[in-house]
Symmetry: C2
Subunit: 283 residues, 2 copies
Amino acid sequence: MAAALALAGCATAPAVSPQSATAAAPTVPPAMQWLYGSGESAASSLQAYSAFRDHVLAAARARPAQSVVLAPGSTLEAPRFLACGDKPLAVILDVDETAIQNLGYEYDEAYRARSYDEGIWNRWEQTGANAVAPVPGAVDALSAVREAGVTVIFNSNRLTANAAQTQAALEAAGLGPARPGETLWLKGDIAPGSAKDPRRAAVATRFCVIAMAGDQLGDFSDLFNAEDLAVPRRRQAAASTPFAEMWGNGWFMLSNPVYGPSLQGDFDDVFPVDRRWSDQGGN
Amino acid sequence: MAAALALAGCATAPAVSPQSATAAAPTVPPAMQWLYGSGESAASSLQAYSAFRDHVLAAARARPAQSVVLAPGSTLEAPRFLACGDKPLAVILDVDETAIQNLGYEYDEAYRARSYDEGIWNRWEQTGANAVAPVPGAVDALSAVREAGVTVIFNSNRLTANAAQTQAALEAAGLGPARPGETLWLKGDIAPGSAKDPRRAAVATRFCVIAMAGDQLGDFSDLFNAEDLAVPRRRQAAASTPFAEMWGNGWFMLSNPVYGPSLQGDFDDVFPVDRRWSDQGGN
């Protein structure tokens, strides 16, 4: 079956002749080598899920007064967290590159040397459930969290129309159960668009959310996705009080250098002007 | 000064004409956008250093019987950790992209669209001390660790010949003190070559090492750098018992998708054959 898929990939991939100087054979992009191939990335996610599990088990015993979901009206400068009351406990996780690795899709994209395509991604959601893997550490952490009586809820921008297949992908990876409309919230649920705050707010009406995990800042608050937020200011906001204290302490980040709004910025955005250097050549 | 450096960069960079179809303007590689420009990466390292600090403070109180440094004769299949005795406590950190970000060097490399060059890196070690920044979270964590009476020791493959400048870079970033031969160990110290085990062993004769931090598996054990270790097996070793339990629990990984031995592998190495998928086109 795997061989058949690989052959199908070959049959429809662009012609590749490694001997030619102009048509290079496809290679695995460095960020994919890191995320899907390296022990370093596996270590990084095991470490994140170890901290996630420890935090959730401790918070489940302590029953915090405050949720880790921001209250309506919060700003980056003045955030407030929702109160918990005596609601049952839950955690909220993103799906893609947080709970599961989309190995099949990324293989196809890299092998054909293509960039992201919405139509292809939609077909991936519909047919790729068996070509994913759990992010290292996720299966054990979610199992421990559920054993402590904490509900696991997924909040993803996959489409509501493909809910059954996304449920199948999560469950095939050993991360379920995920029930659409109950513990699996998707794009189109509650409100149109890719904003995740409305779904977080809906979950928070029923649950005290004691931890969130994601690979993009938008998995924690849509405030980080404001269109007028410049790249350096976005980084600075995430790394300053009060958000700096949240990382590893209620908010858990999985490293994903392969795609998403984390990959932005020109030279002036990424490299501060007072931290530049120019090689002056050998002596 | 910064402007002068930037201008110097422009003056010696290859001619760039954004209007030309054949000579594209340099762009920031995605992995650098993520590591140096994103809030996601800042969150990831703040989270790692939060776990590092908490672990070290707890271990300093508990005084573990075992160090986190592997004993000589260990293998990936049968590792043993050194005993601590009543030695004073220390932590060992890598330098580049673990404690400091090499912003100046990476800017120069990306702006000139060059790949790694040993001669340029050597000049960077010699003259770049003021164009680095601390990795988010490192300054506060190292300060807390030292306050608890734990010695901070750096183990880097920068050159012994440039020890004074590497000390200056660490101290300019707020991460010092770092004393060559005492708390700063470099390539050429103890033994020739880039293996870090001999330096770890030397530190461990005097200290009980309660935590290590790095961005590459070789910052924890040279066993992961064995030449005959295939990419998938290297990842599997890092993610399996007994090493899986070390991440976030004595061994702390900083995510670095920009360079290093973590960036290896062809399609067969990175994408398991049973997790492939091929788009079959629209209906």
